[in-house]
Amino acid sequence: MAETTETAPHLLSLVPKAAGKQTMKDFKSDQEVRWCPGCGDYAILAAVQGFMPELGLAKENIVFVSGIGCSSRFPYYMNTYGMHSIHGRAPAIATGLATSRRDLSVWVVTGDGDALSIGGNHLIHALRRNVNLKILLFNNRIYGLTKGQYSPTSEIGKITKSTPMGSLDAPFNPVSLALGAEATFVARTVDSDRKHLTEVLRQAAAHEGTALVEIYQNCNIFNDGAFDVIKDREQAQEAVIRLEHGQPVRFGADNGKGVVRDPATGDLAVVEVTPRNEADVLVHDAHAASPTTAFALSRLADPDTLHHTPIGVLRSVERPVYDTLMARQLEDAVERQGPGDLGALLAGGDTWTVAG
């Protein structure tokens, strides 16, 4: 039952368009934003509010659903429909909404604790089902709202209030996790890079199915500077691998470094680019049917130093969307059985009549 993507209208076309031109202001709610001054969430909020008019969707048909945590206050600040739900459950709630209302553009806002710890199960199942959700995962590698415990993305040995001798557990790499969970769209971006963030949002919004966008976000109170290596222009040259579809995967000063495949193991490695190996540098293919290379790219990042962290769209492929398939089953059932006739249903089976 393959989705005929050639002929089917784009899922975004099911969402009504705005009547007139929108501005960023249209998406600001009347609520005072209550994140800590200097929090990375402000930049993400501004980027999302700034991007929304570009979509041109009727804002009453946009819904933001969140869980619990600092990032999950996000819906209150968007002048759309919104639900601030309970810890970890936003993908499940959004699944019910998106699968029952295909005329809505449904966004999930979550954090590293919300999505990867308490709500890990819902996240992976949303990804494998390919429900039409856009999931923005704000990763600050710390628990902020509970005041500074380590999170499932914190580096090993993290000293926090709950781990005075250092945390013991290995962190999740959210991008690797999503790729392993059959995600059809996986990207990573950074709160402070408005242009990059907006471009990733653009591609995520256009994706049909679940899009997971990991956004590195600075918590200036409990984990300040966690991503400095990626944000500092000089250090970023070593640390960040900017991925662009169709382009060779090169980075570093003067693009002097590149990613090549080890012919023996198939794994990826970072090398100095030379005239001899230049032709071997991997060309990024976000649309590759297999997630193998995207996964290998995601593993280049060092969880401690963040060196060789890929940002951009790692994977963007087409796969039938759960909501579409569900709607089609309903249509098929009507076609096969006719529209439901309640009287006939109730009086079905073996019946007998008691005469008056």
């Binding site: 009453e60 459950r89 019910g96």
Partner: protein, 631 residues
């Protein structure tokens, strides 16, 4: 094999025929022997004949426990009569025992004089040893006092099917149909339905269909010809018991599923079920997934929490949203139920209760989730609770739970149980035009004017009568709003940590549930002089009513009332309770309703409790009630 003789069979007049008012039959065998199917078929034959009936399937949680062992015994009890009956019967008049384990597991329930049909082929030394029989009970005199019919069911079935070219193992599998044929002869059941059923069930394997029909007919003919069965029985249709109408036999879970589909139609809202498989609730998921042509969406979630989460998301989007589960699932869903209380969105939580705590007894019945439904959440989180009282009543109770959820924008618990879910009874099929109108309007514009004269939408501005907040679904222009689990300001719905506001909101949510309109409790006291009231709720209705009838039959005056609404209680409940010297509350838990009414009404209610995984037996309950009357 393809002979076109009439499939309707009538016993000849050669044998003695006796009339009975009622019969209780129990089919018992290995989990793999097809006893549930056999019972279902006998039930359908009995229903189409027009008897009143009540059934009690009883099976282990294991799909196939080791063959021939006591834990592997599966049984199906059916009570049918020429008058209206209320329970599946206390004790079988007839036991069909397909092996020694089935005999041993069920013998204690049989009164002396009962008939026992045993499959002698299975009474081998090894099979007897497996269940701890030192000697063969068919030969050692331990069954003296019963009417034992030793029948080599397996051999006779294999013999009857020898022309079909089946392996011995394949042929043996039809022995349940041989037994069904024999019982159908004994009780003059119509046989056409079973033959039609078998042809349909095995439509893709016509040879197997015909083999089963041949075994069924062979069983019937065996009764007709063998001298061991000298008597057959007639139980006349219960024509006086039923008001005129079209009837069908229906189980609780099927009735509940139909009730949900009907509620969806009557509310003009699409039905959305978010669920995770769990015994004994899964059949509702199965049934609803077959009716997508009614616009029904069924979502099998990754866990119980996601099941209710998806349902709540669909409710936000304007669906009639439902989650189905059992007690362990309710425990997992509790936080989301609390969110639904805070969001004030309509949501049905269907709990098919089973024995607990923890995994407990997955296939056995219990009523021990009442307090979980009432109180099993953090904070003050009142949720209405509705409980059906018979299998067929699950249909009406589902409609009623939906009415409350939609009209008051609240989650509602529907508390059924394993006995109602799998048990069945005749149901008068309602006319669709007689079903209640459940439509409620969505909010479509501003509902408040601010001081400066601006028209705005306030998501928590309530209907003064019901205290329900407006249901504004995404897609409605101008009503964009944000809701969440954090305490919100009265009216605007904005986040508020103000102490006085929280106090007001907690009390308002409670007042909304307390103010739900439910009918007064009706008391049944034919003579009007009773000093004792028996109060029940949920699936104990049948046994309690049967027990009360017995007591009245021997001259006692006993009043009876049965609660459908556990939260809020009917407004007249306190008055009713105080009108009697004694109040007895039979429950399949350790006294949860009794605790609630003692706390609320300061009435010295006495509990009579049973938690053995089975419904009350009418006789035992009558004895207990008599003790309460005398004591």
């Amino acid at each position: 094999m393809t002979s076109q003789v009439s499939t309707e069979r009538e016993p000849t007049a050669a044998k003695d025929v006796r009339r009975l008012e009622r019969v209780v039959i129990r089919f018992a065998g290995d989990s793999g022997d097809g006893m549930q199917l056999t019972g279902d078929r006998f039930t359908s034959e009995t229903a189409s004949f027009g008897n009143d009936l009540s059934t009690l399937p009883n099976f282990p949680a294991e799909i196939r426990a080791p063959a021939g062992t006591l834990p592997g015994v599966s049984s199906f009890q059916l009570h049918f009569a020429d008058h209206d009956i209320l329970t599946p019967g206390d004790a079988p008049n007839v036991l069909v025992a397909m092996n020694p384990a089935a005999l041993k597991a069920n013998l204690a329930d049989l009164p002396r004089g009962a008939e026992i049909i045993v499959n002698t082929d299975e009474f081998t030394t090894r099979a007897l040893q497996k269940v701890g029989y030192a000697a063969d009970p068919l030969e050692d005199g331990s069954l003296d006092g019963y009417q034992v019919h030793p029948v080599p069911l397996t051999t006779l079935t294999v013999e009857a099917l020898k022309e079909f070219g089946l392996t011995r193992k394949e042929a043996e599998r039809s022995k349940n149909m041989f037994a069904l044929g024999l019982l159908s002869w004994m009780y003059h059941r119509p046989t056409e339905g079973t033959e039609t059923f078998l042809r349909k069930k095995f439509a893709k394997k016509p040879q197997i269909a015909e083999a089963n029909i041949a075994a069924f007919r062979a069983g019937w003919n065996f009764g007709e010809t063998t001298e061991d069965f000298a008597v057959s029985y007639e139980v006349a249709p219960a024509s006086q018991a039923f008001p005129p109408g079209v009837y069908r036999n229906i189980s609780g879970n099927l009735a509940l599923s139909y009730g949900l589909i009907a509620a969806s139609r009557q509310a003009a809202l699409p039905l959305y079920l978010g669920s995770y498989p769990i015994t004994p609730a899964s059949d509702i998921l199965h049934e609803l997934s077959r009716h997508k042509n009614f616009g029904v969406r069924t979502f099998q979630a990754e866990d119980e929490i996601a099941g209710i989460g998806a349902a709540l998301g669909a409710a936000f989007g304007g669906s009639l949203a439902v989650t189905t589960t059992s007690g362990p699932g309710v425990a997992l869903k509790s936080e989301t139920v609390g969110l639904a209380v805070s969001l004030e969105l309509p949501l049905l939580i269907v709990d098919i209760q089973r024995g607990g705590p923890s995994t407990g007894l997955p296939t056995k019945t219990e009523q021990a989730d009442l307090l979980q439904a009432m109180y099993g959440r953090n904070g003050e989180a009142p949720v209405p609770v509705v409980a059906p009282c018979t299998p067929a009543d699950c249909f009406d109770a589902a409609l009623e739970a939906a009415r409350i959820a939609l009209a008051y924008r609240t989650p509602v618990f529907l508390l059924s149980d394993g006995y109602l879910a799998n048990g069945s009874e005749p149901w008068r099929v309602p006319e669709v035009e007689d079903l209640p109108d459940l439509r409620v309007p969505f909010a479509d514009g501003p509902n408040h004017t601010t001081e400066d004269g601006t028209e705005v939408f306030w998501p928590y501005k309530r209907d003064p009568e019901t205290l329900a907040r407006p249901w504004a679904v995404p897609g409605t222009p101008g009503l964009e709003h944000r809701i969440g689990g954090i305490e919100k300001q009265d009216g605007t719905g904005n986040i508020s940590y103000d102490p006085a506001n929280h106090d007001f909101m907690v009390r308002t949510r409670q007042a909304k549930v307390d103010g739900i309109a439910v009918p007064d409790l009706e008391v049944d006291d034919p003579d009007g002089g009773a000093r004792i009231l028996v109060l029940g709720w949920g699936s104990t209705y049948g046994p309690i009513t049967a027990a009360v009838r017995r007591l009245r039959g021997i001259g006692h005056q006993v009043a009876q009332a049965h609660l459908r609404y556990l939260n809020p209680f009917p407004a007249n409940l306190g008055e009713v309770l105080r009108a009697y010297d004694k109040v007895v509350v039979p429950e399949m838990n350790l006294g949860q309703l009794a605790a609630l009414i003692r706390a609320k009404y300061l009435v010295d209610a006495r509990s009579h409790t049973q938690v053995n995984g089975m419904p009350f037996k009418a006789e035992q309950l009558a004895a207990a009630l008599k003790e309460a009357i005398d004591g």
